[in-house]
């Protein structure tokens, strides 16, 4: 019996010694600068806007070497909320040393999870990322004010989601990355420039437009090289 314990301890030690941590840091840029919440900036040369809220789900994180998946994070669901700095980085323990040249993840929540009933942690509906009158997770949420918006108090609200065809807005993103510290940057300029705020200030349900905007967002995630 004793022999087994020694063996177990050795195995554990082995794992601990080669366990590796990969840290992923998220940043969101507006006009080339980190977003300052609730402060007014110029958009499209003459209109002004301000962003009050930016949150999205990152899920199913994997690391690949070429085409081969070398590591898949279990229970991989992360709510990134830029108003809560603690949520803007993810630390993943890999239990063994891995070498990879790309990272792959979803922007949003997969359809199986969408139909799985009440879930906890980052998926708990208290985070305000679940639609209440029509089931489904909100994959990406941006709210704020735009001078051109004709809605009450010039607000805009983009709640992008939808898991059923033809309005499945889940996006897979794959980017080159080799470091243990990965800086992921979302540039929101193309997204904001694509919107005519005077007649498009609210998206609150799964639609074609929600899918198009999700695709555009997915293209604007980049890995920033470490200085």
């Amino acid at each position: 019996m004793k022999k087994y314990y020694i063996f177990l301890v050795l195995v554990l030690l082995h794992f601990l010694s080669v366990a590796q941590r990969v840290n992923i840091y998220f940043n969101a840029l507006l006009n080339g600068k980190e977003i300052q919440f609730d402060s007014i900036v110029i958009n499209n040369e003459k209109d002004t806007l301000q962003i009050n809220q930016l949150k999205f789900y990152i899920s199913n994180i994997q690391f690949l070497k070429g085409d081969e998946i070398v590591f898949t994070e279990l229970n991989s669901y992360h709510l990134i909320d830029f108003e809560m700095p603690a949520t803007t980085s993810i630390s993943i323990k890999t239990f063994r040393s891995i070498s990879y040249n790309s990272i792959r993840f979803y922007l949003g929540i997969d359809s199986l999870t969408n139909v799985s009933g009440a879930l906890g942690g980052d998926l708990d509906p208290t985070h305000g990322m679940y639609w209440t009158w029509q089931s489904g997770y909100i994959n990406f949420k941006m709210e704020g004010q735009a001078s051109k918006s004709e809605a009450a108090s010039t607000e805009f609200q983009f709640h992008l989601g939808g898991y059923q065809v033809p309005f499945n807005s889940l996006q897979q993103i794959q980017l080159n990355a080799t470091d243990e510290n990965i800086n992921l940057v979302l540039n929101v300029d193309p997204f904001l420039h694509s919107i005519d705020f005077s007649n498009n200030h609210h998206i609150m349900s799964p639609t074609k437009k929600a899918v198009e905007l999700s695709e555009l967002l997915a293209k604007n995630f980049k890995v920033r090289k470490n200085e």
Binding site: N114, V115, S116, G117, G120, T132, W133, S135
Partner: protein
């Protein structure tokens, strides 16, 4: 050592045997759609869900509970109102459905907007005209209550309140609302017999109605357009609101007919007060349209007596034990056994 092995073995065994539903329902019924492995039924969780169902704490100003619109004495519908004060825009104008045998449904609401029973409660809790709160506020209020901290502890071994635990407990109570003890069920078990009129009605029902209102649940859980003319003020397009697909226009969830005696008024907008009006709709009120159900394209002809026979059969679906079951009513006994706030 040996003894220890046995104990370990049994601990493992008990951890792995799936406790499935723990609910009793006739063995001839199909398998439930609800995934009980994610939320196994346990007495203390059902109790918590039942207390929540009857507690106006779920609404912003503590005035409305689930029961306000789903009364146990009418098989959990809102009998005196055709249209329950709205849930969100279009949905806001619908008749509250009876609640029973929910474990067998794959989607909820007249248009299937809700994909899992757990998520159902979010709709009324959040709607400004209904309960006007949010699950986040509800969790904060519950956490501040001594009574609920005790109930959550009894249910989950931990007094921390979360959205997940709250929704799952409400589901547990809803899942126990099983109606399977009507005269019809007793006849099927061989314990009772239909009268001649009921028997005749049953045959006519099987011929004309059971393709949609399928036994034993009296619904096939699909969506169909049963030919109701569009309500000119509500202009409710049903399933199309969700799929945005015009081939789904005017399709609504096919409702169960169990306990139909208690669940008037009928249809998604509560337009009919009596079963005789429903019968007249099926024989002479059906409006043809692109999305009308194929099985209703051919006119149904029934004599006045035959309509009465079908209604007498429908009344055999009343389950008094269900409607007066003291395990489903206001949970006096649970509330008096826990701390007061």
């Amino acid at each position: 050592m040996n003894k220890l092995h046995y104990i370990l073995f049994f601990i493992l065994l008990s951890a792995f045997t799936t406790r499935e539903s723990n609910l009793s329902y006739p063995s001839s019924w199909p398998k439930p759609s609800y995934d009980f492995s994610k939320n196994p039924i346990e007495k203390n969780k059902v109790n918590l869900g039942r207390v929540l169902f009857y507690d106006p704490i779920l609404s912003d100003n503590n005035s409305i509970s689930c029961e306000s619109c789903h009364s146990p004495y009418s098989a959990f519908t809102h009998i005196d109102h055709a249209l329950s004060h709205g849930i969100y825009d279009s949905i806001g104008t619908r008749n509250s459905p009876a609640l029973m045998n929910l474990a067998w449904k794959k989607s909820f609401m007249w248009d299937g907007a809700i994909n899992n029973l757990d998520m159902q409660a979010l709709a009324p809790i959040t709607h400004p005209l209904e309960m006007g709160s949010s699950i986040k506020n509800v969790v904060i209020k519950l956490q501040a209550s001594k009574k609920y901290r005790q109930l959550y502890f009894q249910a989950y071994g931990d007094s921390t309140v979360t959205g997940e635990k709250t929704l799952k407990a409400i589901s547990q109570f809803l899942l126990t609302l099983i109606s399977a003890n009507s005269k019809y069920d007793k006849v099927m078990n061989g314990d009772e017999q239909f009268s001649t009129q009921e028997k005749n009605g049953y045959a006519l029902f099987q011929k004309n109605c059971s393709s949609c209102h399928r036994e034993p649940l009296f619904t096939n859980d699909e969506f169909a357009n049963n030919g109701l003319p569009e309500n000119p003020t509500l202009k409710d397009k049903g399933r199309m609101h969700i799929t945005l697909d015009s081939t789904d226009a005017y399709k609504f969830k096919i409702p169960t007919l169990r306990n139909i005696e208690y669940t008037f008024p009928y249809m998604h907008d509560g337009r009919f007060k009596k079963l005789s009006e429903v019968m007249n709709h099926y024989t002479s009120g059906i409006i043809d349209s692109k999305t009308l159900a194929p099985s209703l394209k051919n006119k149904i002809t029934l004599t006045q007596n035959e309509k009465v026979d079908i209604i007498s059969f429908l009344l055999t679906l009343s389950d008094k034990e269900f409607v007066f079951n003291s395990k489903h009513t206001y949970p006096k006994e649970i509330i008096s056994s826990v701390a007061k706030d």
